[in-house]
């Protein structure tokens, strides 16, 4: 365990070196929040409540969605692709460590860095610049747990795409399709409630919504009861475990085709 914590610290250090990048990420996020604010403001000219959400709830949902998006963006698929292409993956395989866990802790390290550098400033901005109202309720208490599972699911998507790089070098195409599917069908860009009802019913069972919609509902509508939150958490838990097992099995297959050129 101690070894993996060192891995995590290492990846936080890397983040500190590239702090110049965080300034632009924050600027980008401020602009995105502004655009989202005006976009939804103009949509809510038609009615006060659309699809059961008020303007404040929708904006909070979308704004926090973008904060989670940046939080979970650790580029693990690109990093794995790089390691495989350059052959440096071999240096992990000869160490007495578990590759999947090594990647998980690297990813978690950069998530912590993102949290401090981007997500927290975004939250402060929401509070003091956009002055959104937060509702209090039991949902807020389970939000951290839900967010942690969201991180695991999001990581396993990246890890899965990374493992595909054992077979194909076209990481751009595969990773782009993954990003689009995850952001569009998860509630990262638009609340799931806005989708047509039939689509919504299907989306609620898929793993994508577990990354954004579930934790976001804990914050935007925290005043609901356990009968609402418990099934959501169970779906999240199911996907966390299922993706963990699936990627393990896939790894055992993929590692067999790996050929690293000597040097």
């Amino acid at each position: 365990m101690k070894g993996y914590l060192a891995v995590m610290r290492g990846s936080i250090m890397v983040g500190v070196v590239y702090r110049f990048g965080f300034i632009f990420s924050i600027i980008g996020n401020v602009i995105y929040l502004g655009v989202a604010y005006y976009l939804w403001k103009s949509i809510y000219r038609h009615a006060d409540v659309i699809r059961g959400l008020t303007f404040n709830e929708t904006f909070l949902y979308v704004a926090l969605g973008s904060a989670i998006f940046i939080l979970l963006k650790t580029y693990m698929d690109w990093i794995m692709n790089y390691e495989i292409r350059e052959g440096s993956i071999a240096t992990y395989l000869i160490k007495p460590i578990d590759f999947g866990l090594y990647m998980l802790f690297t990813s978690f390290g950069s998530v912590l860095m993102n949290l401090a550098a981007i997500t927290i400033p975004t939250l402060l901005m929401l509070l003091f610049v956009f002055k959104v109202d937060f509702t209090l309720g039991p949902g807020l208490l389970i939000f951290p747990l839900s967010l942690f599972m969201a991180f695991l699911i999001s990581f396993y998507f990246d890890y899965f795409v990374g493992l595909l790089c054992f077979y194909s070098e076209s990481v751009w195409g595969i990773s782009t399709v993954k990003d689009i599917v995850v952001t569009v069908f998860s509630g990262a860009l638009i609340p799931l409630q806005f989708f047509p009802d039939a689509m919504q019913r299907i989306l609620l069972w898929l793993p994508f919504q577990a990354v954004y919609h579930t934790p976001l509902m804990m914050v935007t509508r925290p005043d609901q009861g356990w009968e609402v939150f418990l099934p959501m958490l169970l779906v999240q838990l199911f996907w966390t475990v299922a993706l963990f097992i699936a990627t393990r099995m896939f790894y055992n297959q993929a590692i067999k085709v790996l050929r690293v050129s000597g040097g």
Binding site: I23, F24, I27, I31, W172, G173, I174, T176, I180, F194
Partner: protein, 265 residues
């Protein structure tokens, strides 16, 4: 000085070789094109979902948004297809391989950008053209010869604006360690250009119109064809904005090229 004709001929020779080399990786081309197809339609999908719940977006119907979006897809295609090498500039500068571009009797920006021709960008261009034709038919736009000429001028100006924004962002790597965050920001801003600029007020509209003029990539010029009767006179400045911005970009590029001293190895 070489003539434009000579440069065009040279460009075709270089790209023909490049495409031959890329075609060794057919699977990559197919997968990347699929990725491009989905990524270029994502924002339109969001508009579609929104317009299922409300009748219009700041007064613009779904079909009008499709037109604006199609205009956007076509306008950003030259940047995607012809200037994609801008993303590699930071690597060339860091590793010192940028030096090689100084040693040919060619315009440096031309030589540098000609090294890459983004095939997957063609997917976006094709989808954009199909959507533009579809939306034009649905909206009963009367394509008189003058309007067609106007469309080409408008697309040309819009493409120049988009190219300039990305190339200027890439040029940051002449002065900072890594221009990726700057490019990432410019890339993200691109996605806002099909948004109706009328939803913004104050600082945002000012910035998107005059500072980082993404409004000129799609929303403003599209009005010439959607609502010709109430076009603001600002729209007629599109070519000036496009050419002016590109001239500025070329100036920044030249400054950067002249200040670069290599990595010393």
């Amino acid at each position: 000085m070489r003539t434009i004709g000579e440069y065009l001929r040279l460009y075709f020779i270089i790209e023909a070789q490049y495409i031959k080399a890329r075609m060794q990786y057919r699977a990559d081309f197919v997968i990347s094109s699929i990725g491009m197809f989905f990524s270029s339609l994502a924002t339109l999908g969001i508009f579609w979902v929104i317009l299922k719940s409300v009748p219009d977006l700041a007064g613009w119907s779904l079909m009008e948004m499709v037109f604006i979006y199609a205009f956007y897809m076509i306008a950003i295609s030259p940047m995607q297809i012809l200037f994609d090498h801008a993303w590699q500039l930071r690597f060339h500068i860091q590793r010192g391989t940028f030096l090689k571009y100084y040693f040919r009797p060619l315009n440096m920006m031309f030589y540098y950008m000609s090294e890459m021709f983004d095939l997957k960008g063609i997917t976006q261009l094709v989808v954009g053209v199909v959507l533009l034709v579809y939306a034009s038919i649905q909206l009963h736009i009367d394509w008189t010869p003058i309007r067609v000429v106007l469309l080409f001028i408008a697309l040309f100006s819009a493409a120049l604006v988009q190219i300039s924004i990305i190339v200027i962002a890439a040029c940051a790597s002449f002065w900072v360690l890594d221009s990726y965050p700057v490019l990432g920001l410019a890339w993200k801003l691109r996605e806002f250009s099909p948004y109706p600029m009328t939803i913004f007020d104050g600082a945002f509209r000012f910035v998107f119109t005059f500072i980082i003029p993404i409004g000129f990539v799609s929303f403003y010029p599209s009005q010439l064809f959607l609502r010709p009767q109430d076009v603001s006179s600002l729209v007629y400045f599109s070519p000036v904005v496009g050419i002016g911005l590109f001239a500025l970009t070329y100036w920044v590029w030249t400054k950067g090229v002249n200040s670069y001293t290599g990595t010393g190895s």
